[in-house]
C-alpha cells in the first residue's frame, strides 16, 4: 500500500537544523573543479563512434536506402536504418508516432534516416556520405494554419482514425461557467472586454551539454545505456519495448547532466541507435550530437497563436476569459497531448475566474518537433493573459498590481476548472515586488523611454499522474545505514543541475541527524535505484522530498525506539541532530549518532528503509481531461520588470527584474534563488532575444533552421542579463516536504509579460508578439507614431538628440 504524503510541514523552522540553511550543493565541488564525468567523458575499451544521417528535406517519402557502400568502408562496423527498429514510440503512450530512424517518410529537415558505427567520428562521417537515399519530395507545411486547413491532406501523419485530419495532433475544448454571460455582464455593467491576438515565437532550450549516449550490449544479453537524459525510467521502458528486450535485461545510467530544461525529457534517436549498433557489433558505441543536431532535435517551446477575450467588471474583477489557441507542434507528437491541455488548464490561477473557456489545437508541421520547455505549455498563454490584464487595468484606471490583488484566488480553494489549491502566497509575492521595486513611485511616472511592468503566475509542483497509467508511487528512495554512521540513499531521480541530489542529502541529514557529508546519494541508475519518474513538471522536490522523509522516518523510529529503551525515555524524547542522539530537555544525555545506529542494527538487523510518495487523488474534477494540470500543490510568482527603451532603435534594455516566488519553503535558499534567477533569465531571453526561424521554400530550402549555432541563435550572456533580485515567499504547503513546493519553472512565466507591460509603460506600445527585438519594437513605435502625433515627435530620430 502506498502511504500518504509524509509532509512534515507542521515542523516549525526553529526545529529544523539543516533545512532552510544556505548550503552548497553536494556535487558542486566536483562540477566546479571539472571532475564530474558527463556522458561524453566516458570512454569504454573498444568503443565505436556513431553518427546519424539526417534528412535534407522537410517532407519526403523514402523510396530506397542503399547502405552497402557505407558498410564496405574500412573502419565501419555497422550501419542501421529504420527497418532495423520498426516499432514506433512516443513519450505519451497514446501518441507513438516516432521511429528511432525513419522507415518510409521523413518529416523535417534533420529527421534521422540511417546510423553508422565506426572506429572514429571522421570515419563515421565519411560513411554517412556513402549512404544513398532516394527521396520523393512531398509538400511541406511550415505554418500550423496551413496544415490545419489541408483537411483532405496530404497529411504529415496518417490520421489515427479514418476521416480525421492527420495534420492535427490534438484538439482540446473545455468550458467552465457561462463565458458569454460573463462577457455580456462585463459589457453592460460599466466594465470592459479586452480582445487581443498574440504570437509567442518558439524557442529552444540550449543546454550547454549536447545530447550524448553510449550503448553497451554485453555477451550475457544485457544492454546498458548511458545517456544525458532527464527521464531514465521512461527511457528504460521505451528501450526495452522498441528493441524488443526484457526490461529486466536493460539498464539505464544517467551520468551528471549539463543542462536539460525539458530538452532531454523523452527518448531520442541516438539512444536507440547506440543500443542497436552495440547489439550488432558487440562493442560499446557512443553518439554525441553536434550543436546543430541539438537544435534540430529541439522539443522546445511551441509557437502559439493566441486570441484572448477577457471581460472584467467595473471594479476590475474578472467576469470571463475566452481563449482560442493554435499551436505549432512540429513533426511529431512528443508531449503535445499534455501541452495542448496545459495551454488552457494552467491559466486558472492565481486569479479567480467565474467563467473560462479554451479551445486549443495542436498541428503538425514539417519542422523540428516541439515539446516541453521550462514552464511547459503555460508560458505562452501567461504572456498573453497578463498583457490582457494590463490592458484591463488601464481601461478601468486601476493600478495593475491592485487589479491583480482584487482577483487573487486565495488559499484552500478550487479553481474554476476544479483544481485543488492548497497554500497560496501570491498576495505576499505582489506586495514584495511592489515594495522592492518602488512601484508606486515609478508606474506611469518615469520619463518617456523608461517604464515598469508587473505580471503574476502559478505553476504545478508535479503532475498528479505519470505519463503511463499505473498505481505505483511516483517517486521512491531506499536508505541504507552503515555502522560508521554513513547513510546511503539510492535515488531514482535525475540530477540535471537543479540540485536534486543535494535536496535528498538535506532531507536525510535533517531527519537522521547526521552531518551532510555523511550522506551519500547514489542516483540515476535503474539497476540499483527505485523508480522516480524523472526531472520534469517541477515534481522532484515535492515528490522525492516526501519519499525521503518517509524512508528516513522509518529508520528514525527504529533508532528512537532503541535509544529510548537505553535511556528509559519515550521515543519522541530522543532527538537526532548534529551527529548526536540527544535526550530532549536533558542535553547531558546523549550519544554519537553512530552508536545509536549500532544499537538499532543490533536490535532490528541491517538498518535501512524504502520510502515512497504518490499524489492524493482528490485534487481535481472528474470531467475528461480534469487530471491534466492537476498537481498536489501550486507555486505562485510575481515579477516587476523595469526597462529602458531606446525609441530611436527600438532596443529594450531590461534594467532589473524583481522576482517574488512562493516556493512553500526554501529547503536551501541558495538553490531556490538560483532557480528564480535562472528562470527569470530564461524568460528575459525569450522576451528579448530568442527567435527560431526556419527558411521557407521561397528562401531556397524550406524547413532549414536559420541559426542552428550559438553564434547566431541569440541567447543572453551574463553581460546582457539584467540585475535580478530574488525575493522568497514561504507559504508552507500542508503536503510538501517541510512545506516546500516548486521553484524551477514558475518564476519563468511572469518575466515575459512583465517586460511587455513595462515597454508599454515606457513608450506606449503594446508588444503582442515575441521577441521584443529592436526591429519589432521600432516597427511598433512607427505604427504608433503614425497613429498619434505625440508619439511621432518622440519616435522619429530627428526629434530626439
Amino acid at each position: 500500500m502506498i502511504r500518504p504524503a509524509a509532509g512534515g510541514a507542521a515542523q516549525a523552522p526553529e526545529a529544523l537544523s539543516v533545512v532552510g540553511r544556505r548550503m552548497r550543493k553536494v556535487d558542486g565541488l566536483a562540477k566546479a573543479t571539472g571532475r564530474a564525468r558527463y556522458t561524453d567523458d566516458i570512454a569504454l575499451p573498444g568503443m565505436l563512434h556513431g553518427k546519424i544521417l539526417r534528412s535534407p528535406h522537410p517532407h519526403a517519402r523514402i523510396l530506397a536506402i542503399d547502405t552497402s557502400r557505407a558498410a564496405a568502408l574500412e573502419g565501419v562496423h555497422a550501419v542501421v536504418t529504420g527497418r532495423d527498429m520498426p516499432t514506433t514510440y512516443g513519450i505519451i503512450p497514446w501518441t507513438p508516432d516516432e521511429h528511432p530512424l525513419c522507415v518510409d517518410r521523413v518529416r523535417y529537415v534533420g529527421d534521422g534516416v540511417a546510423a553508422v558505427a565506426a572506429v572514429d567520428e571522421d570515419t563515421a562521417n565519411a560513411a554517412l556520405e556513402l549512404v544513398e537515399v532516394a527521396y520523393e519530395e512531398l509538400p511541406a507545411y511550415l505554418d500550423p494554419h496551413d496544415a490545419i486547413a489541408a483537411a483532405d491532406g496530404p497529411f504529415i501523419h496518417e490520421p489515427r482514425k479514418p476521416g480525421r485530419n492527420g495534420n492535427v495532433t490534438k484538439v482540446v475544448k473545455l468550458a467552465f461557467g457561462d463565458v458569454e454571460a460573463g462577457i455580456a455582464a462585463a459589457r453592460e455593467e460599466g466594465g470592459v472586454v479586452v480582445e487581443g491576438d498574440y504570437f509567442f515565437e518558439g524557442t529552444t532550450h540550449t543546454p550547454i551539454e549536447p545530447h550524448c549516449a553510449i550503448g553497451l550490449a554485453d555477451a550475457s544479453g544485457k544492454l546498458t545505456v548511458w545517456s544525458a537524459t532527464q527521464v531514465p525510467h521512461y527511457l528504460h521502458r521505451e528501450l526495452a519495448r522498441v528493441l524488443e528486450l526484457d526490461p529486466a535485461m536493460v539498464r539505464v545510467v544517467q551520468p551528471p547532466v549539463g543542462g536539460a530544461f525539458g530538452g532531454k525529457s523523452e527518448p531520442f534517436d541516438l539512444e536507440f541507435c547506440v543500443a542497436k549498433l552495440s547489439m550488432i557489433t558487440g562493442r560499446p558505441v557512443k553518439i554525441l550530437y553536434t550543436r546543430e543536431e541539438v537544435f534540430y532535435s529541439h522539443r522546445g517551446r511551441h509557437p502559439f497563436h493566441m486570441r484572448y477575450r477577457t471581460g472584467a467588471r467595473a471594479d476590475g474583477v474578472l467576469a470571463a476569459v475566452d481563449a482560442e489557441i493554435v499551436m505549432d507542434g512540429g513533426a511529431y507528437a512528443s508531449f503535445g497531448l499534455v501541452t495542448t491541455y496545459y495551454s488552457g488548464q494552467l491559466l486558472t490561477a492565481p486569479y479567480q475566474m467565474p467563467a473560462y473557456r479554451f479551445h486549443s489545437t495542436r498541428a503538425y508541421t514539417n519542422k523540428p518537433a516541439c515539446g516541453p520547455k521550462r514552464g511547459h505549455g503555460s508560458v505562452q498563454p501567461r504572456f498573453a493573459f497578463e498583457v490582457q490584464l494590463d490592458r484591463i487595468a488601464e481601461a478601468l484606471e486601476i493600478d495593475p498590481i491592485e487589479l491583480r490583488r482584487r482577483n487573487a484566488l486565495g488559499e484552500g480553494t478550487r479553481t474554476v476548472n476544479d483544481l485543488r489549491v492548497t497554500s497560496n502566497g501570491f498576495l505576499e509575492c505582489l506586495a514584495m515586488v511592489e515594495d522592492a521595486s518602488a512601484w508606486r513611485r515609478k508606474f506611469r511616472r518615469l520619463p518617456y523611454g523608461r517604464g515598469v511592468g508587473v505580471a503574476g503566475s502559478t505553476y504545478i509542483s508535479g503532475t498528479n499522474y505519470p505519463v503511463y497509467p499505473n498505481d505505483m508511487p511516483q517517486s521512491a528512495v531506499q536508505l541504507q545505514v552503515d555502522r560508521s554512521g554513513r547513510v546511503a540513499v539510492f535515488s531514482g531521480a535525475s540530477e540535471i543541475g537543479q540540485g536534486v541530489d543535494s535536496m535528498v542529502a538535506y532531507v536525510v541529514a535533517e531527519e537522521l541527524g547526521v552531518p551532510l557529508d555523511h550522506v551519500r546519494v547514489f542516483a540515476g541508475d535503474t539497476d540499483f535505484t527505485p523508480v522516480d519518474l524523472g526531472a520534469y513538471s517541477s515534481r522532484v522536490t515535492f515528490m522525492l522530498g516526501n519519499a525521503c522523509i518517509d524512508a528516513a522516518r522509518r529508520v528514525k523510529r527504529q533508532v528512537q525506539k532503541v535509544v529510548a529503551e537505553a535511556w528509559d525515555a519515550k521515543p519522541q524524547e530522543v532527538l537526532l541532530a548534529g551527529g548526536l542522539a540527544v535526550r530532549a530537555g536533558d542535553t547531558g544525555t546523549q550519544m554519537p549518532i553512530r552508536e545509536a545506529f549500532n544499537l538499532a542494527e543490533a536490535a532490528f538487523g541491517a538498518l535501512g528503509a524504502t520510502g515512497s510518495y504518490d499524489t492524493p487523488k482528490d485534487v481535481h474534477g472528474s470531467y475528461r481531461g480534469a487530471t491534466i494540470g492537476a498537481s498536489p500543490a501550486y507555486s505562485f510568482t510575481a515579477h516587476v520588470a523595469e526597462v529602458e527603451v531606446d525609441p530611436e532603435t527600438g532596443f529594450v534594455d531590461v534594467v532589473q527584474i524583481w522576482i517574488a516566488h512562493d516556493c512553500g519553503r526554501a529547503l536551501n535558499p541558495v538553490l531556490v534563488e538560483g532557480q528564480m534567477e535562472g528562470s527569470a533569465y530564461m524568460g528575459f531571453a525569450e522576451a528579448i532575444m530568442e527567435e527560431q526561424i526556419f527558411k521557407t521554400a521561397d528562401q531556397g530550402r524550406a524547413g532549414l533552421h536559420n541559426a542552428p549555432s550559438l553564434l547566431d541563435y541569440r541567447i543572453p550572456t551574463s553581460l546582457d542579463t539584467p540585475a535580478l533580485r530574488s525575493l522568497i515567499v514561504e507559504s508552507i504547503d500542508p503536503e510538501g516536504p517541510y512545506g516546500a513546493k516548486e521553484a524551477g519553472e514558475g518564476p519563468l512565466h511572469p518575466s515575459i509579460p512583465a517586460i511587455a507591460n513595462a515597454i508599454y509603460d515606457a513608450v506606449g506600445v503594446r508588444m503582442n508578439a515575441l521577441p521584443f527585438s529592436p526591429p519589432r519594437v521600432w516597427r511598433a513605435l512607427q505604427a504608433e507614431a503614425a497613429r498619434t502625433p505625440a508619439a511621432r515627435s518622440a519616435a522619429t530620430p530627428a526629434a530626439v538628440s
Binding site: 532603435t649 532575444m689 526561424i693 547566431d712 529592436p774 526591429p775 530620430p797 530627428a798
Partner: protein, 264 residues
C-alpha cells in the same frame, strides 16, 4: 574540419613563400574568423600559415600625422593603446566594441581587414579615416582595398603588415550590435580629417562597407548631428537577416550616423 598542413614561419618573406608553395594556402592570425569557417566546412585550406611566430608585426607607433598599427595587433591592444586613445579616440572606441573579450584578445586588425566581413568594424574605420593598408609588397589605399563582401584587393599570397591611420581633426563611432555575435547590424564612423569629411557604414549592406555622399556633403557644410539626422539611405541595397530587415537597417544607418557625429 578537413586535414591541413600547419606552418609557423618566422618572417613575412617565409610566410609569403609558404603561401605560394602551399596548395590553397591561407594565412591565419587570430583565427577568430577563419577557424569557424573551417569548422563549418565553408573553408578548407590545404596549408595554414600562421603569423604567430613572425615578430615585429604587433607594434603601434605614432608617426606624426599617422598612427601605424601592426597587422598582428589585437583589438584589445588597439583599444587599450594610449597613443590611439589620445590621438584617434574613435578608433579605440571602435576596437573596444568588437565582439566579446575573447574575440578582442585573439582577433587582429590584419585579419579583420583581410577578411572584409560585411559586418566587421575595421573596414568602416579604414574607409572613414582614409587609412593605408601596407603589405609585404605594396601600399593600398583603403578606397581601393575593400572590393565587396569578403573580397579585397589582396593577392592570394599577399600578407598585410600594417594599417596606417591619418590622425583626423575629429571622428566618432557608433554601432548597433547584433545581440548574439556583437557584429555590426549597422556601424558608422564619421570623420573630419586629412581625407576630408567622410561617413563610412558597415554591417548594413551586402556589398560591404560603403560611404554616404549625401551625409558627407551635409557634414562638410556643418559637422553637426542635425546635419545627418534627416538624411536617409535607401533600403534597397540593405542586408536582410534574422537580426534586422532592410528598412530597419536603413533607419539604423541614419541613427548611428547621428550618434557617431555626436561622439566626434
Amino acid at each position: 574540419m578537413e586535414d591541413f598542413q600547419y606552418h609557423a614561419p618566422g618572417s613575412v618573406d617565409a610566410a609569403v613563400s609558404l603561401l605560394r608553395d602551399a596548395e590553397d594556402g591561407k594565412v591565419v592570425a587570430g583565427g577568430m574568423s577563419l577557424l569557424p569557417l573551417m569548422k563549418l566546412g565553408l573553408a578548407a585550406p590545404g596549408g595554414l600559415v600562421s603569423l604567430g611566430k613572425v615578430s615585429g608585426l604587433d607594434g603601434i607607433a605614432d608617426r606624426g600625422s599617422e598612427i601605424e598599427v601592426g597587422a598582428l595587433c589585437t583589438h584589445a591592444q588597439v583599444a587599450a593603446a594610449e597613443i590611439v586613445r589620445e590621438r584617434i579616440p574613435a578608433l579605440a572606441a571602435m576596437a573596444e566594441g568588437i565582439g566579446d573579450a575573447q574575440v578582442r584578445n585573439r582577433g587582429t586588425i590584419g585579419g579583420s581587414v583581410a577578411h572584409n566581413d560585411p559586418a566587421a568594424d575595421y573596414p568602416a574605420a579604414c574607409l572613414a579615416l582614409g587609412a593605408t593598408i601596407a603589405t609585404d609588397r605594396r601600399e593600398i589605399a583603403a578606397d581601393d582595398f575593400f572590393l565587396g563582401m569578403f573580397f579585397t584587393a589582396l593577392e592570394e599570397d599577399e600578407v598585410i603588415t600594417a594599417v596606417r591611420f591619418p590622425v583626423p581633426t575629429r571622428a566618432g563611432w557608433a554601432k548597433f550590435p547584433n545581440p548574439a555575435s556583437k557584429y555590426a547590424v549597422a556601424g558608422v564612423m564619421a570623420a573630419d580629417g586629412p581625407a576630408g569629411v567622410r561617413v563610412a557604414v558597415t554591417g548594413a549592406s551586402g556589398d560591404g562597407v560603403f560611404r554616404v555622399a549625401e551625409m558627407e556633403a551635409a557634414l562638410a557644410s556643418s559637422f553637426e548631428p542635425a546635419s545627418v539626422a534627416g538624411v536617409s539611405v535607401s533600403a534597397e541595397a540593405m542586408l536582410s537577416d534574422d537580426a534586422a530587415g532592410p528598412e530597419y537597417r536603413a533607419h539604423l544607418v541614419t541613427v548611428m550616423a547621428k550618434r557617431a557625429v555626436e561622439e566626434a
